[in-house]
Assembly symmetry: C2
DNA sequence: TAGTGCGCCTAGCGTTGCTAGAATCAGGGG
DNA sequence: CCCCTGATTCTAGCAACGCTAGGCGCACTA
């Protein structure tokens, strides 16, 4: 059954190809440009092939988002581990988060803005999401049982990131905003 | 030219009718349900009439959003003026903001989530937006020249509101999150 | 080599935002 | 009183969207 294996391998490659193409197209021209037709053209297959891999366009976006959580988690982890003091670690993680949102806006959009049915805080939550949130918990400090501080710190970062991204808040002073947040959320100083 | 006046009056009424219908339809069934066809049917005119009032669908959404800022501004103002102490005023305004987002999700979406070309912080910023932001500045205290504290407080509120709305953060504990924010942003204590 | 089944593509459905051109209606002049 | 003029509204249709049915062709099995 070697041919079957090869087929499955090729199929998996194409699966990944679709996800990558969708992300690249979104990052280059925005999600509005990611239509099933253009995406199919880009992977050099016809439209229906997409539907043999994914239930629909939403599922493709979800797959792109899911990969993004690995990246974001790793980026935050690297940032916080590079610092010694809790305060500096917090600032580094916050900067990493905001940089991620600013540098890869389309990916960030798929992860945190577009409608999704990814389970975010439940038993079905994918490991990548859990790990990414865990980085925030680690740096904020699990001062309470439910991670309230981590939630609010995350929410604050997300808020300013998304308002800047939507041009509802000036892009300048983002560093100052982060400093202000860090000042308030530094562990112990609570 | 009385007939002309009447015509203009009727036209203005219809203009408002379209905005109201769009908002109601969005609040009842979500913005996806607000198609130009359904909206036209609802106002009992044909589709092209919409385009004689608005440049396109985006312009209708923008008009709905603009009205929302009056509501939100008033709601925040009422809340903060009902309290004496700065801390309680801050909490009341925050609660008003979060309640607005939770109670009128479609309207909130049009104001703060959907793509828009409304000028948010510039010379062209509509008075309603300016006034609403002014309420936040008033309650946070303009501790710096550029309203950094107000921006970050607003961003934090927006972040948790929108993450809960998108089911990316549990809906519970929203009150606790607000308390935590208020604790950190209370004037003087800063 | 003939049969068989899977995989891919062509074609098309219903819906979207938006627009061109026909039709209709109100108001004013002969 | 009637017809003409101009504005206003509607019918019809375009291109693009997400998605799907059905048939064709190729690769593998026997």
């Amino acid at each position: 059954m070697s041919s079957t294996e090869r087929r499955e391998r090729e199929r998996a490659q194409r699966h990944q190809l679709i996800i990558t193409a969708a992300r690249e197209l979104a990052e280059a021209e925005g999600w509005d440009a990611v239509t099933t037709r253009r995406l199919a053209e880009r992977v050099e297959y016809s439209q229906p092939v997409l539907y043999s891999h994914f239930k629909g366009k939403d599922a493709i976006v979800r797959a792109v988002a899911l990969e993004g959580f690995d990246d974001l988690g790793a980026q935050m982890r690297r940032a916080r581990l590079a610092e010694i003091s809790p305060k500096e670690a917090l600032r580094a993680l916050g900067r990493a988060y905001l940089d991620f949102a600013a540098d890869r806006p389309a990916l960030y959009e798929a992860m945190f803005i577009m409608p999704t049915d990814l389970a975010f805080a439940g038993t079905e939550t994918p490991p990548a999401l859990r790990a990414a949130f865990g980085e925030i918990v680690a740096v904020v400090g699990p001062r309470d049982g439910v991670g309230l501080y981590a939630e609010v710190f995350w929410g604050s970062l997300h808020g300013i990131a998304v308002l800047v991204h939507g041009k509802r808040m000036p892009a300048e002073h983002q560093g100052d905003r982060l400093d202000l947040l860090v000042e308030h959320f530094t562990p112990e100083a609570g």
